[in-house]
Symmetry: C2
Subunit: 340 residues, 2 copies
């Protein structure tokens, strides 16, 4: 097969504060055919996620920074175009980590064949049944040590992870599920469609006051996607032996100066409470249990998910910037033209 031309997003300089288009380039490159042990994949769906903001900086962090003038990486689903690797044949669907580009040349160890369950859309394997869903599951069930009867608060609850956390908590027997989100539409979605007991719009008043009203008897578990005033409010509402799982602090990612943390950490002593940070990568061993437990719920519609799509490789940057601003409801996914 003759080599193909594909486009890929590269980081051109490290953003300061909110990333701007000039920090990136969409570059056309020649994609060589696969060598021995390699496969060539045409990407169909790309994941854009808040954690990628961290990888654009070179500050000490958990994931290696993206290289300058190199294509960025991220979750993706594609179709094998050409394979020189055992176990992969043209037409196979695969999951892999070389997103942000139209064509990915992968070593066989970097991809896994995907056999979607009937009735579950392919893109769900980047979201509710992918890393996003596992993040929700591991953070709630293991890190926050969820137990039936817990009162649970989730911030960023209309996001991909947050909306899954709240529903898992409900399915697992939470006494109360409260979510915060950034628009009346999102709040309505949480309450009317996803079965959250209560939800509030954090832009419409103080978070601590709205949380106190939504959970007057306090919370046992807080799943933090946001940080800042949400974390402070959660600490204030924490019940005895409360647990806070810190998944993200999206309110902080574009800060150029460190912002002060919660002023009430002393509540941890009063409540014997716990705050723990986590990364989904440390909980890959839960993937099997997660799929057995939640896969059927997705197929049956008990565990709902929503996707916000943008189309075309050229839309990926806007999609990513939108996630940082909360433009998505549910999982934000870039759908590549040739996938339709």
């Amino acid at each position: 097969m003759a080599s193909l031309i594909g486009r890929e997003w590269r980081l051109q300089r490290r953003p300061v504060g909110v990333p701007v288009p000039e920090d990136f380039s969409l570059t056309e490159v020649e994609v060589p055919g696969p060598g021995p042990g390699q496969l060539l994949v045409r990407n169909r769906f790309l994941s854009v996620d808040p954690y990628m903001r961290g990888r654009m900086s070179d500050a000490k962090s958990y994931a290696a920074p993206y290289g300058l003038d190199e294509p960025m990486t991220g979750g993706a689903i594609g179709e094998v175009v050409e394979s020189e690797a055992e176990g992969f044949a043209p037409g196979d669907l695969v999951r892999h980590g070389l997103g942000w580009r139209e064509y990915a040349l992968l070593e066989s160890g970097e991809a896994s064949v995907l056999r979607p369950t009937e009735g579950v859309p392919l893109s769900a394997y980047l979201g509710v049944l992918g890393m996003t869903g596992l993040t929700a599951y591991a953070g709630l069930m293991r890190v926050a040590d969820f137990r039936p009867g817990d009162r649970v608060f989730v911030s960023g609850a209309a996001g991909a992870v947050g909306s899954t956390v709240g529903q898992i908590a409900r399915l697992k027997g939470a006494e109360l599920v409260v979510g915060s989100a950034g628009s009346p539409e999102k709040v309505a979605w949480l309450r009317d469609d996803l079965g959250f007991d209560r939800a509030f719009d954090y832009k419409r008043g103080r978070v601590d006051e709205q949380l106190a009203k939504a959970a007057p008897e306090g919370i046992d578990v807080y799943f933090d996607n946001v940080g800042g005033d949400h974390l402070e409010a959660a600490l204030g509402a924490l019940r005895l032996k409360g647990r806070i799982a810190v998944c993200g602090m999206i309110s902080r990612y574009n800060d150029t100066e460190p912002a002060p943390g919660p002023n009430n950490l002393v509540r941890l002593i009063q409540t014997r409470g716990r705050i723990e940070g986590f990364l989904v990568g440390d909980h890959a061993d839960l993937a099997g249990e997660f799929h057995r437990d939640m896969g059927p719920k997705v197929a049956s519609g008990e565990l709902k998910h929503r996707e916000t799509f943008t189309d075309g490789i050229e839309s990926a940057l806007d999609a990513f910037l939108g996630v940082l601003e909360g433009a998505n409801t549910g999982k934000m996914i870039v759908r590549l033209d040739h996938s339709r």
Copy 2:
């Protein structure tokens, strides 16, 4: 026996900021003899501790607030004067919780007979072998889940709890023990007498810079007695899977306005770190193990402790205020005149 006259400290109004003498009264009262099931104790040693500041406020907290115009409570050791309770005879030494007074009238269930080990001074049972020592032990071994090879940082390290934490860590095989304290004398004591690997004076420079120098490879465990800039520095130095046990936040206790917390809580995600608050009262089940493990080390001198004494019931308030300011090295104890 005719009834006795004794003095007791009462809270007269709730302090705002730093407590002042006018918030308290030293009141002379008539102490009745014991009724059935009661014993009358002449206190010999009284404990004054930072947590008592919390009980002087009526804010929601873990311990009930002290009542106004009522005697305050706290750890004490005394001698039975008169007993109407089974298992207690005049002359017995007892531990109990009705400090801040010269004579205590106790229900039998409120006191326990103390049989000090030879060579261990009586006052040690309020300190290194009392609640203070158990606080250090439970916080380090259970809450911070200490493991041999850990690099440990303790703030307030010249205090009663902190000095014990550092020594237990050393005895249990820490790779590195670092302490912070508030004077050159205290720093010297930690290094020269207690076997801390490194110690620094937090008044002589930024805590984060001094900690980075003392523990250039970071820390696995931080035992927090102080909060504020110490907690922020510890987060900055936290290694992967680091654990922070929050015992106290003395830097905050006299605040009238909540002060902002650490600006780098996002480190918890990067390190998959954990912050957990605790109270010694939740770990009473460890007392037996603690005594078996550490009692012999105290008797042999391997686990050292220092006490700062003040004399007479009238000195108790100053002793307490001194603890809040760091006037003590090791455990602050009020020795009552009639004990000499």
